[in-house]
C-alpha cells in the first residue's frame, strides 16, 4: 500500500510526578507545549487523539473535547483511547495510521494521567482492573505481583540474580537525574534496591516504577506539512502492534512477552532495519524485570542474557545500546496514559538535539516500546533523524 511518510514535528511534556493541577489542565498544558514546539497554529490540527486510563479518578473523562475547546478548536474531532499502560503508543499508532492513509495532514496526540491524589491503595486496586481480572486481579494479584511472577520465572530459568535486576533500577535513576522532567531524580545503589521493602516477592519497592501524574504530547504530520513548517522534525520509519494472551496463565513462556516480539518484527520490517541499527530505545520498564525481558524481546540481547548485560553496563547511557536515556518509567515516572507518548517525546528530543546532559551521542535511530498490562497489548515505533 502506498502511504504518506509520517513525521513528528513537535513535542511537549509536563513534569512527571505528583502534580497539583487537574487532569484537564495538565493535558492542555502538554498539548500547548507540543503545538508551540512544532511552530504551528492550533487551527492546523485536523484531529486529536487523547490517551488516558483513569480520568474518572479526577472527575474528567471525554477529555478530547475539553482539550480542543481550550485550544480554541472545539470543532476539531477528537477521541480518547484506553489500552492500560500502553494507551499512549496505541493512540500514537492510530494517529500514525490515519496520517499515513492520508485522512489528515496534521494531528495532536496527547497522553495524560492523574492518579497520585488517590493514594497507593486506590491505585493498586484500580490498576489491577487492567489484568484479566477474573483470573488475576480478583485472586489478589496486583501489577507488582504479576511482574514478580515473571521475575521469579526468569530467575528460575536463567543464570541471573535479584542484584542483576536491581542494576536496571540503578541505571535508570542515573539517567533520570539528568532529566529535569523526571519524577524520581535521585541516584540509588544496588544495596538501596535490595534493602527496600518487598512489595511482591521477589520484587522490592525500588524494582517498581512510581505512580505518577503527567501529560505528554506530540504533533504528527505528513512530510509535506513537516517541510513547510520546520527543518527540525523526525521521521516515523516503523510502526508495529501485537497482542498476547491477556492472562499470564495463557502463555507458554513467562520470560518473554509475545506482543513485543510481534510488534517489533512488524516495526523492523516496515523500517527495513534490524535491532543492530538502533542507537537507543525507550522501553517499558514498569518493573526492573520488564526492561530485561523487553531488551531481549526487541532483539538487543539473546534470551536469558539481558539481566547480565544490564549489570555489565551495556545498557547505560552511551553503552553498547542506550536503554531508557530518559530514566524510563522507573525514574522518569509512569503516568500510565501518558507514558507511551512520553517515550516518543524523548525519541524526538534525542533525535533533534534537545536532550541536554542525557544525549545519546550521534543517535540517528531510536525505538520506543510500550505495552499494556503484562504485555497483553504492545506497540513499537522506530524514529529516524532527518
Amino acid at each position: 500500500m502506498e502511504r504518506e511518510s509520517v513525521c513528528v514535528l513537535g513535542a511537549g511534556s509536563t513534569k512527571y510526578g505528583k502534580l497539583e493541577d487537574s487532569i484537564s489542565d495538565i493535558t492542555v498544558q502538554a498539548s500547548v507545549d507540543a503545538i508551540e514546539n512544532a511552530g504551528i497554529e492550533p487551527k492546523e490540527i485536523q484531529a486529536g487523539y487523547i490517551s488516558n486510563v483513569f480520568g474518572v479518578a479526577d472527575k474528567q473523562v471525554h477529555l478530547g473535547p475539553v482539550v480542543m475547546s481550550n485550544l480554541g478548536i472545539s470543532e476539531c474531532p477528537s477521541l480518547s483511547i484506553e489500552s492500560a499502560c500502553g494507551s499512549g503508543s496505541v493512540s500514537f499508532r492510530e494517529a500514525f495510521a490515519n496520517v499515513a492513509a492520508g485522512f489528515y495532514d496534521a494531528v495532536l496526540v496527547t497522553g495524560t494521567e492523574k492518579v497520585t491524589h488517590t493514594g497507593t491503595d486506590w491505585t493498586t486496586t484500580y490498576f489491577s482492573y487492567c489484568s484479566d481480572f477474573f483470573y488475576e486481579g480478583q485472586a489478589g494479584a496486583s501489577f507488582p505481583g504479576l511482574f514478580a511472577s515473571m521475575a521469579r520465572a526468569y530467575l528460575h530459568e536463567f543464570d541471573a540474580t535479584e542484584e542483576d535486576l536491581a542494576s536496571v533500577a540503578v541505571k535508570n535513576h542515573d539517567n533520570g537525574v539528568l532529566n529535569p522532567k523526571a519524577h524520581l531524580r535521585k541516584k540509588i545503589t544496588i544495596d538501596d534496591v535490595m534493602n527496600s521493602p518487598v512489595v511482591a516477592s521477589p520484587l522490592k519497592l525500588y524494582d517498581c516504577c512510581p505512580f505518577s501524574d503527567g501529560a505528554s504530547s506530540v504533533i504528527l504530520c505528513n512530510e509535506k506539512f513537516a517541510k513547510e513548517h520546520s527543518k527540525d522534525y523526525v521521521k516515523v520509519i516503523g510502526s508495529g502492534r501485537g497482542g498476547s494472551p491477556a492472562a499470564l496463565q495463557g502463555r507458554e513462556h513467562l520470560t518473554t512477552i509475545p506482543s513485543t516480539k510481534i510488534a517489533a518484527e512488524a516495526a523492523y520490517k516496515m523500517a527495513g532495519i534490524t535491532a543492530k541499527d538502533v542507537n537507543f530505545a525507550e522501553v517499558h520498564d514498569c518493573f526492573t524485570v520488564a526492561e530485561v525481558i523487553d531488551t531481549e524481546d526487541l532483539g538487543f540481547f539473546k534470551k536469558g542474557t539481558g539481566a547480565t548485560a544490564a549489570r555489565n553496563g551495556e545498557t547505560k547511557l552511551n553503552g553498547s545500546i542506550s536503554i531508557n536515556p530518559s530514566g524510563g518509567l522507573k525514574s522518569k515516572g509512569h503516568p500510565i496514559g501518558a507514558t507511551g507518548v512520553g517515550q516518543i517525546v524523548e525519541a524526538f528530543e534525542q533525535l533533534t538535539g534537545r536532550s541536554g546532559e542525557r544525549t545519546v551521542n550521534d543517535a540517528k535511530i531510536g525505538l520506543t516500546q510500550n505495552f499494556g498490562a503484562t504485555g497483553a497489548s504492545c506497540a513499537v515505533h522506530i524514529f529516524q533523524s532527518v
Partner: protein, 126 residues
C-alpha cells in the same frame, strides 16, 4: 450464555472445566469461545482434576482491596497434571493463602484447586 457459572461450580468441586476443540483436539479453559489453534467453535466439555504443579508465583505483601487482612499470601500460576500430555497443557492461576516465604512454595510444589469465592480461584498445597 457465559460458561463462567459452570466454570465456578467446577472449581468449587475442585475441578477445572475445560473445552476440547472437536475439530483439532486443542484444550482451552471453558471461558474461551473459539479455538486458538484452528479457529473453530465446536467444543466438548471436559472436567479436569484441579491438581497440578506450581509454574511460578509471588508472595504479596502490598495487596489490592479485599486482601488487606490476608497478607502475606501467594498468587500462583499452576499447570494441571492431567493435561501434561497435551502440546499446550492447561495452566490456571489463583489465590493461595497462608504462604509466608519462598521456601514454603518452591516451583514444582504440588497444589490443587479447592474452591471459588470473592477471592477468585482458591488453591491449597497438596
Amino acid at each position: 450464555m457465559s460458561a463462567k457459572p459452570e466454570f465456578i461450580d467446577a472449581a468449587k468441586a475442585g475441578n477445572v472445566l475445560a473445552r476440547k476443540c472437536i475439530k483439532c483436539g486443542e484444550l482451552h479453559l471453558a471461558t474461551v469461545y473459539f479455538c486458538k489453534k484452528c479457529g473453530s467453535k465446536g467444543f466438548s466439555n471436559s472436567t479436569i482434576k484441579g491438581a497440578g504443579k506450581v509454574v511460578t508465583y509471588t508472595i504479596m505483601t502490598v495487596p489490592p482491596a479485599g486482601f488487606e487482612d490476608l497478607v502475606p499470601y501467594a498468587w500462583v500460576v499452576m499447570e494441571l497434571d492431567d493435561t501434561s500430555e497435551f502440546i499446550n497443557p492447561i495452566r490456571i492461576s489463583g489465590f493461595l493463602p497462608n504462604i509466608q516465604k519462598p521456601e514454603d512454595l518452591p516451583i514444582g510444589t504440588a497444589v490443587k484447586v479447592i474452591g471459588f469465592d470473592n477471592h477468585g480461584i482458591l488453591l491449597e498445597k497438596q
